[in-house]
């Protein structure tokens, strides 16, 4: 017995060495069984804390690259979004009767069709609305455009195969013939390029006795728009004692800031009317020339 103790005492270092070696090797070769044990879990907490500190610092330096990757990813995802795609407008087909009278003798003067707004601004002085119909779908220049709730939006000024540009009422060069609903006196509405909610209307005589809230409709004298459709309401009567005409601020019926769907209206007699107009002009001009 004493010898055993002496032996242990003498070779204590070796025994400790061998024991620690055995422990280390046991850990190593039983790692898969061991790593669920509690001791290693605590060790994981500690190394995890250090690693998270390190990661915080490391992240800062990798941010740029990460941002680039993220942007790339976003870019590829954005391209997959359904809003990138426009459904081909194959369901709508415009067929004009060869006989433009129905059985009751009514004569079709205007034809309506829906369209979707692709692009729209209100911030410029010359705002245009782009819609997803072009000459392939029968859109022509000078067709009228109304918003989905019936307010006047503008008129088509340029047509491509599948899209058209609409000159919106918020365009300083757009002058539209309108009338006051109450008195049917007509005037010309225009925009001053400032507030997209309000238009200006002059040339309504003061004998009309208007009040705020009076309705303004599209006029009788336009080739593009059917008469009697909503344009806006009187928002403010600017006092101007120097003239006999009102200076009116009109609140637009269409909300130009969130146009989504619009209606296109086609004057089926446009060519006839336009031709007549031009020919009249021509005759008068020619007559003048002959007179000279």
């Amino acid at each position: 017995m004493r010898n055993i103790f002496l032996f242990i005492r003498r070779f204590f270092t070796v025994i400790v060495f061998l024991a620690l070696q055995a422990l280390a090797l046991w850990f190593l070769f039983n790692y898969n069984r061991f790593h669920r044990a509690k001791g290693l879990g605590v060790a994981n907490e500690v190394t995890g804390w250090f690693n998270s500190r390190y990661n915080t610092a490391e992240d800062f330096f990798r941010m740029k690259e990460e941002n680039r990757l993220l942007l790339k990813m976003n870019d590829s995802l954005m391209n997959l979004m359904s809003s990138n795609f426009i459904k081909g407008d194959t369901s709508v087909e415009v067929i004009t009767d060869s006989i433009p009278y129905d059985t009751l003798g009514n004569f079709r003067h205007y034809a309506w069709r829906p369209a979707q707004v692709m692009y729209n601004t209100v911030s410029s002085e010359k705002n245009y609305v782009q819609i997803n119909r072009g000459f392939n779908q029968g859109v022509k220049d000078n067709m009228g455009v109304f918003s989905s709730d019936g307010g006047l939006v503008g008129q088509v000024v340029n047509v491509s195969a599948n899209y058209s540009q609409v000159m919106s009422l918020l365009h300083v060069q757009n002058k539209v013939n309108v009338m006051v609903k109450k008195t049917t006196s007509s005037g010309t509405i225009s925009w001053d390029g400032k507030d997209p909610r309000y238009l200006n209307l002059g040339s309504i005589p003061k004998s009309d006795s208007l009040v705020k809230g009076d309705t303004i409709l599209t006029g009788n004298y336009s080739l593009s728009f059917p008469p009697g459709h909503l344009v806006g309401t009187v928002a403010e009567i600017v006092p101007d004692p120097t003239t006999n005409f009102y200076v009116l601020r009109i609140k637009t019926a269409a909300n130009f800031q969130n146009l989504q769907h619009v209606m296109l209206v086609e004057n089926l007699q446009y060519e006839d009317q336009d031709k007549l107009l031009n020919e009249t002009k021509k005759i008068i001009e020619d007559a003048k020339k002959i007179k000279r």
Binding site: L20, F27, L40, F50
Partner: protein, 177 residues
């Protein structure tokens, strides 16, 4: 600064450098893993007890193992280094001096040549054992040899650089102190 505090700080620094610098940098080659943390064991004071040395070695190895998720691998190698250290020191120091004039092994305390031999022997031991344990699970014998040589060379380079960069200011121990 007391020996304990100094060695605790050193322990922390060596593990951090090993885990967050040397293990993170892209390796030169698959065979070359730069190791320096075991220098901590080589720098421990002369007067540490052999059992203390063994346990310190085990703790050092395990600390690194927890970061690399290889429990026991570095611990085994470190325990071996800790066990062999006193023998190597005994061989390399002159027999007649019963006491050391310096606290820790350093080029100054042992002289450059014996110190380099001391470092080299223990580095080869550490890497040899470490690589052997790794090799038991995969690899060929030629790879095993190349890896020992390459890793030892890079470690020696690192250790010598460290010695030159951070000369330890050590008081000369006199009898009066």
């Amino acid at each position: 600064m007391s020996d304990l505090v100094r060695n605790l700080i050193r322990f922390f620094l060596f593990i951090m450098v090993q885990v967050y610098v040397l293990n993170k940098i892209p390796h030169l080659h698959q065979f070359i893993t730069p190791y320096i943390y075991f220098l901590y064991l080589l720098w421990l004071p002369f007067n540490i007890s052999r059992i203390g040395l063994l346990i310190t070695g085990f703790i050092t190895g395990m600390s690194l193992d927890f970061f690399t998720m290889t429990p026991g691998l570095h611990a085994a190698a470190c325990v071996l280094v800790a066990y062999a250290r006193p023998f190597v020191i005994n061989i390399l120091t002159p027999k007649d001096s019963s006491e050391f004039n310096y606290r820790e092994p350093s080029p100054k305390a042992l002289g450059w040549t014996p110190y380099l031999v001391y470092i080299l022997v223990l580095t080869i031991l550490h890497h040899g054992y470490l690589t052997l344990l790794e090799w038991l699970s995969f690899g060929t014998f030629l790879e095993f040899l190349i890896k020992i040589v390459a890793t030892t060379a890079i470690s020696m380079l690192l250790i010598i650089t460290t010695e030159l960069l951070f000369p330890r200011r050590m008081k000369f121990r006199t009898n009066t102190a």
